[in-house]
Symmetry: D2
Subunit: 333 residues, 4 copies
């Protein structure tokens, strides 16, 4: 950690600060320049609050050199984390193909889609029971009933299921859910993350619309700090000035996350683009960028979906996509 | 609402859609062009789900002409909403000056700041008890104890208090809190908003870092739809590519919000800029832009604040700012 | 085009407007609602200035339904444009692999890199002679001498060359350049675009850091409106809040551009990411997203490049990438 | 400047780098940590190319502590730069009120507006002769004829004039123009900036839509490095995800620019918001934020302006605004 002091700085205040830093078991290296005095801190700086340091009257700025995340950091955990749900491995050499409807609407709808995506090669069934909607007047999901329907579909197909949680109080309903999803809008709902850190369920953590890669890792750190190391990261598009797609899918983030962290990284091209015809190219691009899995919306009747219809593939389109995914994955070996 | 149909479109499907729209009590006006067929819908389109319409196979795009928010909409509620807490009126001709420390740290700290800001003209005492922090290893606030300290300061000074909630389960702790704040990261925590809609407390709703003015109004609508019409909107900076300030304070949003909605709009220049020296110019700019109030961080010893120190004013700086605020407000009459 | 009128609106002004629009050979369809009156315009609206219409006192807003670009529009030119330089075809089923150093530095450097990338499969040699640099104190390129060196390398290898122009006055120097590049910062230097529209050279137009897909197409339209239909579009990252890569590579833009336009679309992952280790995954992702080509920085000694070194591949890394590109392309067939 | 080395690092390469840095007259301070080795450079680092340093194989990252701009830097030029045009002083205690039509359209239009804004208190007449337009099919301005009309209006009113240049070849036409404007889209047209650096005209440099405060200062540095120290900075809104105003006016940038630089800073609320009704609150907010001037669009008949009409004030609205500006300025003393 680098601490740049204001100039001129009173020598006594500077010495006071250095003494305090040394009391924290840090080595302090001093460089005096004409315009700036710089302290280089060596040792475990993770417990030093950069905000507090910057608040000191004599400090101009503070720059971290080490990343502030630890449990999610590949530097301290070189091997890929591999998370097993059902017969699927997420991370390492495994590839997770999660598919299903945006919202669970009915038994018929869900079963039909579940069998269709399973046949095409999906390894996890997705479906929204609790739906975060911008408008209070829009359909909010079947909630508990939706989870019941997912469990039935799981029994029938054997596919593990993933669905979104919006409130820690609903946790008992998720007992038989295989992967709990935290949506983009809740990525920094720290109270929820803490609760999930006390479970042992795999948590699929979606990147917030305006959150950096570093903040995504810090939110994973909240879950892991609680004892639950089964975090799965998900890139699903960020908010930019461009409006030709709903969000801007940031595939570089996949490469960066794979480098910085050992956690699995999957991509959701359906929500990112918001347009069915762009799902295939972006899904294949995500695979080529090194993603450990995909989450794709599939609907048996996109034209009548209760929500987010425009971005859903038909089962036929999904089956075709699944073939292309396999081919691209083979090309990458 | 305008519905643009794909071209060519089957006449039977088009007629089916028109019939369905008419069954929703809407008038439908048809314009056929060479490249597009357009339906103009007249009537109450608020219950029409644009997502669903766009999902229809024959639809190319849907454009709303009316705003999707109702209770927060000035078109249906011309007069400014005025919210009274203690002796202060927020909205209308009133001006709310909220001030206090970022985090509540101790009885001494809080009391000292509370008396200082009151003397300078603050009308509401702010202070964080529950603190949303990016890192799980950072100070998370005094939580319940912080709220106790705020209530003591309220008793001593008579100032109403505002503090942030992060979890609906904590609501009982907020019984004697005058204004409940929802932080930027929870602006779209819809489960929390719904719960707050069932209370009768004024809710200070901060704009999310990547949320539009329209989404802020929709989140206020969640609170109001539950029966609680005491929403206060707060602009606190959005995330952009610029890094010279922590966030980019969007003061145009004040002018836009005042036009679109009857709800009071306040501004938080402390979090937006993250730098004490920019708080004064931005506070005055917010006043000139038409804000109904300000939320300012003040600390008795900014150099040792446990969090967010760099953006806090000293009581002396705050007193000076309060004088300038009054002068600018008078100049605007 | 949809014109929404303010409400209430004077009938005489409305009739005046309708008469004027009809005088422009447009059909006008009128829908009157309780809150809004809407005019639907049918016909060739391309010459109608939306700004002027919005400026009319009785108009609330104007929404275009058709795209404002024509010559670049796939609706009016269904087949892919294919541009031939040397033995390479850009667009259609061809794939252009452009590679070379960021800056031309010396004859030795350029020749060595040129032969190396040719051997690995590059079809176009890139190299910067005129360099746009943020700082006036930074190396500005070898300018005219750089172009001379590129021409020598072209003679030796037979590879066509692409290099950036920053000033229309330099056009005579580009006589033997095969593809003229317009950099991101000049994407809306309309005076330059107009001049290039009067040449017959292929123009590689890079997307500006804050420009939309639609604006990129409008800038291509400037070139094409002048008579030069040989425009090549290039996605090279946009500016967002994320800082872990230099810019955010927007690969969805590739899919959108391929749909909206018949022009070839290439991707520059080197400048977008700014980091050599992310170039390979992003290059492969671009191929999977449907790009018609790539532009890759290669340096014989990245550790000593005079500019932009950190994002350059070694010739060995490039050769390995070229093999992977071929494999992914084959997987997509 | 701080140079962080990779770990582990070969001692010989490290010593080679240190020797090279010392040959550049820099003092080098070495701190060795468990995870990183850090070099602190003291001395004039302005000629060190950070890109080149980062390109070295043994370097992990480089962080500048000093700003890369010099002539525009307040650290080396404490007093405000004051630029005099006609009877107006821009910078220091002066306040420049620039007003006029977006586009020069005719002698009658320009003269009428010029006399009206002069009467209301404007000190500089603005008007576009060369117009940068997104579409090649839109009105491009009266060009040379527009400049002639501006000069006539200058003769009649005595007001100095400001108008935009788009091409260095047009410089002879600007001989009698008092302030040459560089538009947002040309902020990084470095060839144009260099040419303007060789003139002695005041240059009004608008911030690019996606450019940082630091890049704006570097572009001013291009002008100043050429010998022309009469640069005026202009904030006119940046591009963000928010669409309720055309751009997001970044008023914090005013406070930051005034701190970092001695150059005058003005604000253009007309283009930033794109909506006439938001011009007044944003103009007053800019004054309160400390701007040295404003640039406001005024049209004698906004409803028929050929371009950008929606954001223009009537002369009556402008006169009213001018009164409020004076009041707010007095309140700030």
């Amino acid at each position: 950690m680098i601490v740049v002091l204001k100039n001129p700085v009173s020598e006594s205040k500077r010495e006071e600060l250095i003494a305090w830093l040394r009391s924290k078991q840090l080595q302090v290296h001093l460089s005096e320049g004409h315009y700036h005095t710089v302290l280089g801190l060596v040792g475990d700086t993770s417990r030093i609050d950069t905000d507090m340091l910057e608040g000191l009257e004599i400090v101009e700025k503070v720059q971290r050199i080490s990343e502030p995340f630890k449990k999610a950091n590949r530097k301290f955990h070189e091997d890929d984390t591999v998370i097993t749900v059902g017969n699927t491995q997420i991370g390492g050499s495994g590839f997770a193909l999660m598919a299903g409807p945006c919202s669970v609407e009915s038994r018929e709808q869900l079963t039909e889609v579940a069998f269709a995506v399973q046949k095409a090669g999906a390894t996890v069934l997705r479906g929204g029971a609790f739906k975060p909607r911008t408008s209070p007047y829009a359909f909010q999901g079947l909630r508990g009933d939706g989870i019941d329907l997912l469990q039935e579909a799981k029994k029938e197909t054997g596919l593990p299921i993933v669905t979104e949680i919006m409130n820690a109080e609903h946790l008992p309903l998720f007992e038989n859910v295989d992967i709990i999803q935290v949506g983009a809008r809740n990525m920094q709902n720290f109270e929820l993350l803490k609760e999930l850190g006390h479970t042992d369920k795999p948590i699929l953590l979606k990147r917030g619309l305006a959150n950096t890669v570093s903040e995504l890792l810090m939110s994973a750190e909240y879950i892991m700090a609680g004892g639950n190391e089964n975090a799965i990261l998900c890139e699903r598009g960020i908010r930019t000035f461009e409006t030709c797609t709903r969000n801007t899918l940031d595939l570089s983030a996949v490469a960066v996350l794979k480098e910085l962290s050992h956690l699995p990284v999957i991509v959701d091209p359906s929500h990112a683009t918001g347009v069915a015809k762009y799902v295939k190219p972006m899904a294949l691009a995500a695979v080529a960028a090194g993603a450990d899995g995909l989450m794709i919306e599939v609907h048996n009747d996109p034209a009548h979906a209760l929500c987010d219809g425009p971005q859903s593939l038909t089962p036929e389109q999904f089956a075709e996509l699944a073939v292309s995914i396999r081919k691209v994955r083979e090309a990458l070996v």
